[in-house]
Amino acid sequence: MTLELHGLAKSYGGFVAVEGADLKVGRGTFLTLLGPSGSGKTTILSMIAGFTEPTSGQIFLDGREVTQEPPEKRQFGMVFQGYALFPHMTVAENVAFPLRVRGMAKAEREEKVKGALDLVQLSRFADRLPKQLSGGQQQRVALARALVFEPALLLLDEPLSALDKKLRAELQEELRALHRRIGRTFINVTHDQEEAMSLSDSVAILNHGRIIQLGAPEALYEQPRTRFVADFLGKSNFLPGTVREVTQGALGVQVGALRIRQAAGAAKAPLGASVLLSLRPEKIQVLEEGEAADNVLEARVVSWSYLGAGYSIIVDTALGPLRLAMSAWRAPFHPAEGAAIRLGWSAEAATIVEDDDVS
């Protein structure tokens, strides 16, 4: 099953919620729509499900247009934010609902319900009411209910947002395993970048109703197209500069008083162009005495915090404040406020991004 969106847009009066989304989701893909609240991700999902009528654009399912079809005709499984389990039905009745709607015979229905509950390891709770279950269990019931009628497409609206961190991590793993096992197309909506990266084959990053970048999680993290993407997916330092030198395979970017050697993305920028460099905190090294690097910068520690696996350190430099992440195990120095250190990073560490920060 492939799903295609062509210029899908939605506006409410003068407010544009989604601005012409184009997307192609292949069979068996786990796609996540990731963005801050108000970015239009839920509206897109709601249009795919058929609950929201698009202002313009089309939705195709295996090449057949479904834009005007009501949700009950589209037959997608959906897991709602807050689960939307029927409170007056038991777990088994909830899961049986989509089968009952289809007029399936009782014996066959019971068998399917049992299978679906086994899939999410909830067979023991078949006769309980939803309110007698924990949040994580309710979430799994919602999942079983969405999958029991074997829909080709499963839509997930912030399915894990109501759970605490540890349970969320657990269910993320279950969800990923489930996706591999049944091989259906999943479309997930979330504002949690960790969830998006750990679950998805493909992530679409949205902001202000537009899809900013679409790609595999690694590609988005390593080659963010814009400042927003680099900033939303993980953390980053941004260095605005001007290209002053173009040599074989590398640029000389003047940032303040420093000439930075930048190799990655060198083809994108001609001599004299203004560029924005995005430099991930973990790609900045703390240099030891006499150690060399492509780019070297003197810094002073302003503040730091210990996070168990590592330190997050804010330093002051000639280029302004920078954030760096340092592994705590065999750390090259013990952070202390005011400590003078030397930072270094290679010419491949930073990426050149488009400056789309309008705020």
């Binding site: 499900a49 058929g50 609950f51 009501p70 949700p71 009950e72 005709k73 589209r74 037959q75 997608f76 499984g77 959906m78 709602f80 934010q81 807050g82 939307a84 389990l85 029927f86 409170p87 007056h88 609902f97 989509p98 009952r100 709607v101 289809r102 209910r145 969405a146 009628f149 839509l155």
Partner: protein, 262 residues
Amino acid sequence: MEGAYKPGWFARSTGLIVALYLVLPILIVLPVSLTDQRFLSLPRETLSLQYYRNLFSSPEWFSSILQSFWIALGSTTLAVVAGTLFAIAAWRLDRRLVNLMRALMLLPLIVPSIVYAIGLYRYFRWWDLLDRVLGVIIAHGVTAIPYVVITVSTALAAFDPRLEQAARGMGASLPQLLRWVILPRIMPGIVSGAIFAFIHSWDELVIVLFIASRDVFTLPRRIWDGINENVDPTMAAVAVLLVVFTVLLLLADLTVRKKRDS
């Protein structure tokens, strides 16, 4: 509620006084119904069950009880069907016209019943519904609609709209959605409305006085006539039965609400 101010002696005692004021006139009929005298009064020498016996052996009283019961049942059915359908429609449409309709639906509650009764009298004479059980059922049913509209609307306001989305997403048609999701969710509201509609008809007098004469003699009307013509203590016995019955209905309503809230 934790952390709230505790009520002081003033609040407690006024609360008690108001409660007594509400309950005492009802409680007084109990000793009166057990009187050993021949007129409406408190018992003097001994307690007697003679008027209860009198009530059940008298064909007039008994037929009035039956008639009131059937009328209440019929008008409750009418009010529940019309009120529930209206509440669901108003909830789904929710436009300006509907808000106007909603206000109109509550009219029988606001307009004095005597005004309503005069109007009904005119219409019913044209339609030949005067002094007919069907006429009283229609009159009581229509005036009970507001109770059902209010309780069902309240239940619908608490209905999570995502349940409807979930049901549609799973392929449910509108009738399936209504039967399997919406109706079970608002059933406590419907039952509550039905109980109020029943009580409304059960003790309604003003309208009946206008539109019934000889053939329809409901219980409240029998009491009314009794108190006008003679001061038979049987009325007190009837009143006690009425109170007991109403309290039972209200208790049923409480249980329904408790079940819904849990």
